[in-house]
């Protein structure tokens, strides 16, 4: 749910990293944290972990400034993937604006992806939301592992679901920015359609994309 703060002239958008246990949601946020320009991000909040497993959530705040003087602020959350923490997942998902679904590319873990996807749909419904309301992209993480899903298999998922897919290897810092950029682009289009946010903030899709790329410029440098 887009939040407007008049006093601070700030618009806050909530992005949630969802997905099965150990798929690399936290790792994605860590990668983004190291890439982001420190002028545009806050500290990465990691709330209580047990053996490095998320119990509550992680949160990375990022913002960009529009020429109108407004601030566009993104809060990137992860959910805990373990089945046991469903209540927390449901709560973290409340008021979400867009979701990066981090699935794993490991062939023997595909059931976990499906289970988590079903759980995502359930928790959306529990929050009175629907896939149409929430721009979603799918990341296939851990591409570095042997026998991981092949590009054509990932493309098949994209064709079947109609959702953008992104291969990634979060632990090596590849694909994380592309996933987020793809998601934010989709979200921006969605908000332009529904709330004309682009016009109101004087921020076209193209300018928006440029701003995002600037913030995560470290990636761009890395890719040459």
């Amino acid at each position: 749910m887009v939040q407007f703060n008049l006093k601070k002239r700030e618009i806050t958008l909530k992005i949630v990293y969802y997905g099965p246990p150990l798929s690399g949601k936290t790792t994605n946020l860590q990668a983004l944290f190291t890439q982001a320009d420190q002028m545009n991000r806050g500290r990465l909040v990691t709330l209580e972990t047990k053996d490095d497993r998320t119990i509550y959530f992680d949160m990375l705040p990022v913002f960009l400034s529009a020429s109108t003087g407004h601030r566009l602020s993104f809060k990137l959350y992860t959910v805990p993937g373990q089945p046991l923490h469903n209540t927390t997942r449901r709560v973290v998902l409340r008021g979400v604006d867009a979701v990066a679904f981090i699935s794993t590319s490991q062939r023997d873990q595909l059931d976990a992806n499906s289970e988590s996807w079903a759980n995502y749909r359930e928790n959306l419904a529990a929050n009175h939301l629907d896939l149409h309301d929430v721009p979603t992209v799918i990341q296939f993480n851990k591409q570095d592992l042997p026998d991981s899903l092949k590009p054509e298999e990932i493309r098949a998922v994209q064709e079947y679901s109609g959702l953008p897919t992104f291969p990634a290897s979060a632990i090596h810092n590849t694909g994380c920015f592309e996933t987020l950029a793809g998601l934010l682009k989709r979200l921006w289009g969605h908000l332009a359609d529904r709330q004309a946010l682009d016009v109101r903030l004087g921020l076209s899709l193209e300018e928006f994309e440029q701003a995002i790329t600037r913030i995560f410029g470290n990636t761009m440098k890395r890719h040459g």
Binding site: G42, Y56, M59, T87, T88, V91
Partner: protein, 460 residues
């Protein structure tokens, strides 16, 4: 139900207040290092912490009205304005002294600031002419002497010090707030879990109540049916007996034999109806237990005699194992206990093949108590047979009155259920306990634990 709240609203004043001594210690250590005054403000411009430095020049200025005004104006500006995200601002006083203002961040917000100063830049050799011109009463020598009390700090270093202190405070606040959020999540998820358990409990309780109700209905339904069956059954047996006695004319030997079977089966059916009625009375709490002291030996003698009678036709030996030590009297209803033992004995005989053995024994079992949860001393009475035994998976079920019904009539244990259910119900009514140990093919030992004293205050 209140839903979980993800994030609390951050307030530097609240977070810092909890650890104020630590924050003071940090500010003091910066002062000790640089000798420059330090102030920490929240986002409303209220001072949270402060370590004052040399103030001779300020005091001097405050006595001179135009300077005082300029000073107040400067202080107000510093107080009011929040520095932008990730910057260090330089503010110069009309006296030529300098300040640095560094933002304190939380997330992507500026939530407070650090004020470092006044200090003198190293190159300042004289007080600014504009300052000296502010009032005729200003004595340049006296003012300069006062100004020289300020430390001299290199501007670049001053930037770094201010930023550094702001970062330290920021990190302390970050960690403190994280702890707060975690506790908040703990508490909220605990209460959510508690709420869920409560709801489940309520559901279970209502299910239990429903089951009880069904059980009662079933018991009274069975009792009603068996009353209905009893009348026609009585006349059926009656007529069969009349036939047997020759009232309807002479009978062949075969016919007599058939009639005998009809009467025997009719009578066992009649016994079942009585048992069902009794069980239903027990279940509905209509059976009264009148306990009194009863000698164990008397009970045993009686049951052994009965067992011998029952076992004689099939050559089953029933014997009493002599009691080792004197055993305390039971405090029970003798008729009900006899009924318990009788039903156990009936089963033992029924399932022991011809030529088998049944042993009856008793021991003082005060140490363990009649029930697991009472220290009411007990006596254990055992009836041990060499019968077919009960497979372990059925041991728990034999007290279920409908056990044999579930199993079907062809089942070898058919007919045990209702009788043992009564034994169990009576034992429960005495706050006692029945233990069944069985090895299929070798035999079964049924032990009844019964109290030797009136129930303690806990049970009442």
């Amino acid at each position: 139900m209140d839903e979980l709240n993800l994030e609390l609203t951050f307030s530097l004043a609240d977070v810092a207040h909890k650890d104020r001594d630590l924050y003071r210690e940090v500010c003091q250590s910066y002062f000790d290092l640089y000798g420059v005054a330090i102030k920490v403000f929240d986002d409303n411009g209220s001072i949270l912490f402060e370590v004052p430095g040399p103030s001779a020049l300020c005091q001097y200025c405050f006595k001179i009205p135009p300077c005082r005004q300029a000073c107040i104006h400067l202080v107000n500006t510093i107080r009011r304005d929040l520095p932008p995200f990730q910057t260090v601002q330089k503010t110069t006083c009309f006296t030529g002294a300098e300040y640095r203002v560094a933002p304190i961040h939380y997330g992507t917000d500026v939530v407070g600031k650090v004020l470092f100063g006044p200090f003198l830049p190293p190159e300042l050799r004289d007080l600014p002419a504009e300052f000296l011109a502010m009032d005729r009463s200003i004595d340049s020598w006296e003012a300069w002497e006062a100004a020289k009390r300020f430390r001299r700090i290199n501007p670049r270093l001053a930037d770094q010090i201010a930023k550094n202190l702001a970062t330290v405070i920021e990190v302390m606040a970050f960690v403190g707030f994280k702890g707060l959020m975690t506790t908040n999540m703990h508490v909220q998820s605990l209460s959510e879990a508690f709420e869920e358990i409560n709801q489940k409990n309520q559901k279970l309780e209502s299910q239990i109540a429903r089951l009880r109700e069904l059980n009662n209905q079933r018991a009274s339904f069975l009792a009603a049916i068996s009353k209905e069956i009893k009348a026609p059954l009585t006349s059926l047996i009656g007529y069969a007996e009349m036939l047997q006695e020759g009232v309807g004319g002479a009978l062949t030997e075969d016919q007599k034999e058939f009639l005998k079977t009809i009467i025997d089966q009719g009578e066992s059916l009649f016994a079942i109806t009585q048992t069902i009625e009794e069980l239903s009375r027990i279940e509905r709490g209509q059976v009264e237990i009148t306990p009194k002291p009863v000698a164990v030996v008397d009970l045993l003698d009686r049951i052994v005699r009965q067992g011998k009678r029952l076992g004689a036709p099939r050559d089953i030996q029933v014997k009493l194992i002599p009691l080792q030590d004197p055993i305390p009297d039971l405090f029970v209803d003798p008729d009900k206990v006899h009924s318990i033992l009788q039903r156990i004995m009936n089963n033992a005989v029924k399932f022991t093949p011809s030529g088998g053995h049944i042993e009856v024994s008793a021991r003082d079992d005060s140490f363990f108590g009649a029930t697991h949860n009472s220290d009411n001393p007990a006596v254990a009475i055992s009836i041990q047979d060499t019968g077919i035994g009960i497979p372990p998976e059925h041991v728990g079920q034999i007290f279920d009155p409908f056990f044999t019904v579930h199993r079907g009539p062809e089942h070898p244990y058919s007919g045990t259920g209702v009788g043992l259910a009564i034994a169990k119900a009576y034992t429960d009514a005495h706050a006692g306990r029945i233990l069944v140990q069985s090895t299929p093919g070798q035999g079964t030992t049924v032990t009844v634990f019964l109290p030797t004293e009136p129930p303690g205050p806990l049970e009442q």
